[in-house]
C-alpha cells in the first residue's frame, strides 16, 4: 500500500513536470506560458522548497539552452579546450547554473508579469520583451528573453536581459576574469564552479 502511494505520488510528480514542459513553439507564447507556470508554482505557499527546486531544475533543463550558455560563457577558450576538459566544464557549468538559478528563484513572490512584444532578429533568434509590473515593493522591471529558434518546434532560452543587462554576458565576463588571472587554465574555473556547487 505504501509502495503504491509512493508510485502514485511519483507518477503525479512526473506527469506535472511533463505537463509543465509542454509549452508552445511560438516564442512569445512560449515565454508567456513558461513564466505564468513558474509564477503559479513558485508563489504557491503549499509547494515545498524541494518541490520548487525540482520544478525550477526540470523546467530549466527542458527550456534553457544550458549547453550553448556554457559554451558562450567560456568565450574564445571553448575553441582551444580539449574535448575532455570541455565535457568536465559543461557538467560543472550545468550544476552551477541550476544551483544559482534555484537560489535566485526559490524565494520568488508573486508579481504581475506582462509580455510587451516579440522581435524576430534572425531565423535563429527572437527577442521577447516583457516586464514585471511595478508594485509597492519594487519599480517596473523590463526583461528581454533571447530565444533560440533554430529548431522552430522547440524554442530555447539563451539569455535574460534585465533592464538592458545581459545575465549571460555578465557570467561570461565573470568567467573571463577568473581565466585571465589564471593563465586561461580551465581547470581552475572548473574548481571554482565545483566549490560553488558544494558550498
Amino acid at each position: 500500500m505504501k509502495k503504491l502511494s509512493l508510485l502514485l505520488i511519483l507518477f503525479i510528480f512526473i506527469f506535472k513536470i511533463a505537463y509543465a514542459s509542454n509549452y508552445s513553439s511560438d516564442p512569445e507564447i512560449f515565454i508567456k506560458e513558461l513564466v505564468t507556470d513558474a509564477i503559479n508554482k513558485l508563489s504557491d505557499k503549499n509547494t515545498s522548497e524541494d518541490e520548487k527546486k525540482n520544478f525550477i531544475e526540470s523546467v530549466a533543463e527542458e527550456n534553457v539552452d544550458i549547453n550553448a550558455l556554457g559554451l558562450y560563457t567560456l568565450g574564445e577558450l571553448r575553441k582551444s579546450t580539449d574535448k575532455n576538459n570541455l565535457e568536465k566544464y559543461q557538467k560543472a557549468f550545468e550544476k552551477y547554473f541550476l544551483k544559482s538559478l534555484t537560489s535566485r528563484l526559490k524565494d520568488y513572490s508573486s508579481n504581475k508579469f506582462e509580455i510587451i512584444n516579440a522581435e524576430k532578429k534572425s531565423s535563429n533568434y527572437t527577442i521577447v520583451k516583457s516586464k514585471i509590473v511595478a508594485s509597492e515593493k519594487q519599480p517596473e522591471i523590463k526583461i528581454d528573453w533571447r530565444v533560440y529558434t533554430k529548431n522552430p518546434d522547440k524554442p530555447l532560452i539563451r539569455d535574460l536581459i534585465v533592464e538592458g543587462l545581459s545575465l549571460a554576458r555578465t557570467q561570461k565576463e565573470e568567467f573571463s576574469s577568473i581565466l585571465n588571472s589564471n593563465n586561461n587554465d580551465i581547470n581552475i574555473l572548473i574548481a571554482k564552479l565545483e566549490e560553488f556547487i558544494n558550498d
Binding site: L71, S103, I161, G164, L165, E174, S177, I178, L193
Partner: protein, 247 residues
C-alpha cells in the same frame, strides 16, 4: 586654493591620457588596488549602507517616493547642460520643463507632476556626453565610497562637479547663484539620500548577485560597463555577441 587647482589639473591630465577612442575597457587601471577598494566598499556597505537602506525601505511609501523625486529633481540640473552638449534640444526642453514644474507645482521636487504631463526626465552626465562623442571608456577602476568607474566617467564627474552642475556649484563650492546658497553638508546629504534610495531599490538584486557570483568584483564590473553603454546609447538592448554559436 592654488594647490587644489593644481591637483585638479594633474588628475584631469592623467584621466585624459587614460582615455582614448579605442581603449579596451577590459583593461584595468590598477586591478589589485581596485579589488582592495572594492572590498573596502563592501565592508562599508555591509556595516553602514545596507542596514540604513533596509531601514529606509521600512518607511512609508510616500516618504520613499518623495525622497526619490526630490533627489531625481536635483539631478535634472546636471542633465540639462548635458542634453544641450549632446545636441538633444527636445530632451533639454523636457528636462527644463520637468525641473520647473516639479520644483513649483511638485513642492520643491517632492512630487513628480511633470511625469503626468508627459515630460521626460532622462539622467545624463558628462561621462555619457563624452561617450556620445565617441570618447572611449578608458581603463576601469573602483573609487572609495563612489564605486565602479572608468577614466572617462571620472573625468566627466570632475568636470560636472566643477563646471556643469549648478547644484554642486551652490553647495559643494558654496557659490551664490541668484541669491541661492548652500554648503557641503547639503551636497553630501542629497548624494547620500540618492545612494540610500538606490541601494534600497536593489537590496534583493545585490544579495542575489553576491550570493551567486564566483567573482563578485568581475560581475559588478560587467554590470557597470553594460549599464553605462546602454545609457550612452539611450537603449536597453543588449549587444548581440553570440556570433555563430549554433550547436
Amino acid at each position: 586654493m592654488e594647490l587644489k587647482k593644481l591637483s585638479l589639473i594633474i588628475c584631469s591630465i592623467f584621466l585624459v591620457l587614460s582615455v582614448n577612442a579605442n581603449a579596451d575597457t577590459d583593461k584595468e587601471c590598477f586591478e589589485k588596488v581596485s579589488r582592495g577598494i572594492f572590498k573596502f566598499n563592501q565592508g562599508f556597505d555591509n556595516i553602514i549602507l545596507e542596514p540604513i537602506a533596509k531601514g529606509y525601505n521600512k518607511l512609508p511609501e510616500p516618504v520613499r517616493n518623495g525622497t526619490k523625486n526630490f533627489t531625481s529633481n536635483i539631478a535634472t540640473l546636471l542633465s540639462i547642460p548635458n542634453h544641450l552638449l549632446q545636441g538633444e534640444i527636445r530632451l533639454a526642453g523636457h528636462a527644463t520643463g520637468s525641473f520647473l514644474v516639479n520644483t513649483t507645482v511638485g513642492v520643491l521636487g517632492l512630487g513628480n507632476p511633470a511625469s503626468l504631463m508627459g515630460l521626460e526626465n532622462q539622467k545624463e552626465d558628462l561621462g555619457q556626453t563624452l561617450g556620445t562623442y565617441g570618447v572611449g571608456e578608458g581603463c576601469y577602476f573602483v573609487l572609495p565610497f563612489l564605486g565602479p568607474t572608468t577614466a572617462r566617467d571620472t573625468l566627466g564627474m570632475i568636470i560636472d562637479n566643477n563646471y556643469l552642475d549648478p547644484f554642486a556649484k551652490v553647495t559643494w563650492h558654496e557659490r551664490e547663484i541668484k541669491s541661492m546658497s548652500g554648503n557641503k553638508i547639503d551636497y553630501v546629504g542629497v548624494k547620500s539620500a540618492t545612494a540610500i534610495d538606490f541601494r534600497g531599490d536593489n537590496i534583493t538584486s545585490f544579495e542575489s548577485l553576491e550570493k551567486n557570483s564566483i567573482d563578485f568584483y568581475a560581475a559588478t564590473k560587467s554590470l557597470y560597463l553594460q549599464n553605462r553603454k546602454n545609457k550612452i546609447n539611450n537603449s536597453s538592448e543588449s549587444e548581440d555577441d553570440w556570433g555563430n554559436l549554433d550547436n
